[in-house]
């Protein structure tokens, strides 16, 4: 089916080019039938890419090693679950996933906008199909997922063991959904700028897609952090890696847009700003995709060096120049319709929050690309790590949390001092009490004042959200006399954007409290222990009870059972292992290649609401090295003896001899591995006791829940009322109509 797959890609490319051209022609001439052709091209592209993706998935499922991409990223022993995810572990497959998701989301937005924003849609269609054309060109000309070989290997190389993690099933599709969804606001912004239709209608169309992009990208980022925490064996969840940053930047940018779009909808303000944020978010998404695929910056998440850098640079240049040109061209029409009434208003808080978010984007962008900038200027690539981010990001994050608390309790347009006092008293008290209690609990001083401030601000934000929800419930109960749970559900149901957003703010506070605590008050110890020995970390005694070892055709594993106790009381028993996967490189030796391939870590983790006890083993294979080298020499000699006799005996006899040799090799490997248990030696452990890490995942879940509430469509009955109201038109006063909708 490889031929069919390749043909589908070429056909898809043709459809994308035709659809983009038809849309532009229809837009220029006003001929709707051509615009409709463009729309149908997007639907057709979605169908073709779905078929292509199914063909690729089927090849992975049946381990069809005639497909190069299957031979390179899967094997017959890869579990079925991971065979399904293997396509996006490759450059070729992930590009196909990108264009497939792009076509699906594009189809959805064009389906939902039938009969709406009719002037903008053709240009948006052309832009979306332009992105489709770009990515399809990459799959057709540079990274074909349907490339085959006439001489397939008997066994595939297998999936990178680091990707054998449940998060990897969802993480890339989430990130790619976020990236591809960001192209939708971009496309509609370009359409609005070209046509000069710069009112709030295009904002209303893209708002939900921007929110979806924010949600998917956020989930993707958090899943990546979880994978890093449990799989990579370094004890952290965020390393300020270029690829991590590449996902964070558009997320920050679209977060700013989600807030500032409300100001444009309500006040007709910030039009240049909003257009710039949308254009910037999509450009940053493409820059992120470029970072993953070009190999220009070193990252554990990247696909490594490739030939895709130049096309991406050209696309990014076109997006940047085109965006700037369009905004400058339409600047007169992008003037605000009104001005800020007061600096004490929600729109002022949103504006300030936008500046903070954009400052964060700037910092992340500058520090991430500093190695490239330094290389361009001085000729030397200067590596910068997490310490370069913290002096800027931490204070900005503190201000952001403060503003996320102020936003929900300050009204639009104007606020009086009396109202401020009324709304701020309880949350400020909660924040201060939190801060004072923590300072007192810490003995009056702390070496981590910024973390304490974050806890205080977190308390303030959570208090504002609880207060807002409680007041909303009380107001609703005053009208309806509903019980509290019913009033709460009705309140949120009828004001999803507002209360979904508040819940997101509370989740952000919980998440950042977790980040501040785990990064500031972590205790770690890198120790070498023999069985029976122990180390003490933050009052926990962690004893190396006994070694574990196992060998199979797929993996050699060395591990340890650890007993954790505190004050003489048993807390938990942890098991940590490090797996070694055989390398395909024959120069590593017949035995050696089983010990020198890719490795992954299985951390021993006890996660709790107050602290995590995190352990990982890093076994030193030095004591086995002499035996491994000896085995390599002996087996190499035996193998060459068998091969030298091959011309004198039958093929069957040679094969039998080789099989016997391989059986001896497997026995030797098992014997070597068993020495880890029979003659145990000291091995290295990284032991970490970290507070409130679980709050990060809990905060992420709260954020996702709030995001889903805000994203969920308005109930049908509310839409019917809105339609009825529109039909009633002038007969109903606006305030009455608004009350009806509420």
């Amino acid at each position: 089916m490889a031929l069919t797959g390749r043909a589908l890609l070429i056909l898809g490319l043709g459809v994308a080019v035709f659809g983009a051209g038809a849309s532009l022609y229809g837009a220029r001439t006003g001929r709707r039938e051509w615009v409709e052709c463009g729309r149908r091209s997007v639907y057709a592209l979605a169908g073709l890419m779905t078929l292509a993706f199914v063909i690729l998935e089927a090849a992975f499922l049946r381990s069809d090693f005639t497909f190069n991409v299957v031979a390179g990223h899967s094997s017959t022993t890869t579990p079925t679950f991971y065979k399904l995810t293997a396509p996006w572990s490759s450059q070729e497959g992930s590009l196909l996933l990108w264009v497939w998701l792009l076509s699906l989301w594009s189809s959805l937005v064009l389906f939902l906008t039938r009969g709406k924003v009719r002037e903008i849609v053709p240009y948006a269609t052309a832009i979306l199909l332009g992105f489709g054309t770009f990515f399809l060109s990459l799959t057709v000309f540079y990274a074909n997922p349907f490339a085959t070989t006439s001489n397939p290997p008997a066994e595939g190389a297998g999936l990178d063991p680091l990707l054998l993690h449940p998060s990897m099933m969802i993480h890339p599709p989430m990130l790619y959904s976020g990236y591809t969804l960001l192209t939708i606001p971009f496309a509609f912004a370009v359409g609005a700028l070209i046509t000069g239709r710069l009112g709030s209608e295009w904002i209303a169309v893209v708002r939900r897609f921007a929110l979806a992009a924010w949600l998917f990208l956020g989930i993707g980022i958090l899943l990546g952090a979880r994978w890093s925490y449990t799989e990579l064996g370094w004890g952290g969840y965020w390393a300020w890696d270029p690829v991590e940053n590449a996902a964070l930047m558009p997320w920050l940018c679209i977060t700013a847009f989600i807030h500032s779009a409300m100001i444009q909808e309500k006040r007709g303000m910030l039009k240049v700003w909003n257009a710039s944020l949308v254009l910037g978010s999509a450009t940053l998404a493409i820059i992120g995709t470029f970072l993953v695929r070009s190999g220009v910056l070193d990252s554990i998440h990247a696909f490594g060096a490739s030939t895709l850098g130049v096309p991406f640079v050209l696309l990014i240049a076109a997006m940047v120049c085109g965006s700037i040109g369009l905004v400058v061209w339409r600047r007169p029409q992008l003037r605000s319709e009104s001005q800020l009434d007061s600096l004490l208003s929600r729109e002022a808080v949103f504006l300030f929050q936008n500046l903070v978010l954009v400052a964060m984007v700037f910092v992340v962008f500058w520090v991430t690309f500093f190695p490239l900038i330094s290389e361009a200027v001085t000729g030397t690539k200067v590596s910068v790590g997490p310490p370069a981010f913290r002096p800027f990001i931490v204070p900005l994050a503190l201000v952001l949390v403060l503003l996320s608390g102020i936003g929900p309790i300050i009204a639009w347009r104007r606020v009086t001092v009396a109202n401020l006092r009324r709304n701020f008293t309880i949350p400020v008290l909660v924040g201060l009490v939190t801060l004072v209690v923590l300072i007192v609990a810490g003995g009056g001083t702390s070496s981590r004042p910024l973390a304490l401030i974050m806890f205080g601000l977190g308390g303030f934000v959570i208090a504002t959200v609880v207060q807002e929800i409680w007041r909303g419930v009380s107001a609703r109960r005053a009208m309806s006399r509903d019980p509290v749970p019913v009033a709460l559900v009705q309140l949120i149901r009828r004001n999803r954007r507002r209360y979904g957003g508040y819940i997101v703010h509370a989740g952000l506070a919980v998440l950042l409290i977790g980040v501040a605590a785990s990064s500031s008050f972590q205790h770690s110890s890198d120790v070498s222990l023999a069985p029976g020995q122990h180390a003490v970390v933050n009052g926990y005694t962690i004893r190396y009870v006994r070694p574990l070892a196992s060998a199979s055709a797929q993996k050699i594993s060395f591990g340890a059972v650890l007993d954790v106790s505190k004050g003489g009381k048993h807390v938990t028993t942890l098991t940590t292992t490090r797996g070694f996967y055989p390398a395909q490189d024959p120069t590593l030796g017949i035995i050696g290649r089983f010990f020198n391939g890719s490795a992954d870590s299985n951390v021993g983790l006890r996660a709790g609401i107050t602290k995590d006890i995190w352990t990982v083993i890093n076994p030193d294979l030095g004591p086995l090295q002499g035996l491994i080298s000896k085995g390599d020499r002996l087996f190499a000699a035996d193998e060459s003896q068998i091969m030298s006799r091959a011309s004198k005996v039958s093929t069957q006899q040679t094969q039998q001899s080789l099989n016997a040799l391989f059986a001896e090799r497997d026995a030797a490997i098992s014997g070597l591995v068993a020495r880890f248990k029979s003659h145990p030696w000291s091995v290295n452990f990284l032991l970490i006791v970290s507070p409130l890490v679980t709050w990060i995942w809990l905060g992420a879940l709260i954020i996702a829940f709030g995001g889903l509430i805000a994203l969920w469509p308005v109930p049908a009955f509310a839409r019917r009322r809105a339609v009825a109201r529109a039909g009633a038109g002038r007969r109903t006063s606006p305030a009455v109509a608004a009350r009806e909708t509420a």
Partner: protein, 93 residues
């Protein structure tokens, strides 16, 4: 051969689906400008209704004092009526 036939069939379906609108009688789209203006005004009207509703919720949850709410509500209603008038004019045109 089978793959070739499959691809050919897919190609035929795609061509029929994508070019379908070109084979049907095209309708004039002279009202595009008007409908776009109406759509813009309808979006503005919805946003204004939402703003009125938000102000009411802000008032009921104590974020706006009675005086502030009256002033804001009066302004919002005036803006909404202006939009509704513009919408009427656009529809009549």
């Amino acid at each position: 051969m089978l793959q070739f036939l499959i691809v050919l069939a897919i190609l035929a379906v795609v061509v029929i689906v994508v070019t379908g609108p070109l084979r049907s009688v095209s309708r004039p789209s002279a009202t595009a400008d008007d409908s776009t203006e109406i759509a813009d005004l309808e979006a503005a009207r919805e946003a204004k209704y939402r703003e009125i509703r938000d102000a009411e919720l802000d008032h009921s949850t104590g974020k706006l004092s009675d005086e502030d709410f009256e002033a804001v509500d009066r302004t919002l209603r005036a803006e909404a009526v202006e939009i509704l008038h513009a919408l009427d004019r656009a529809r009549r045109a």
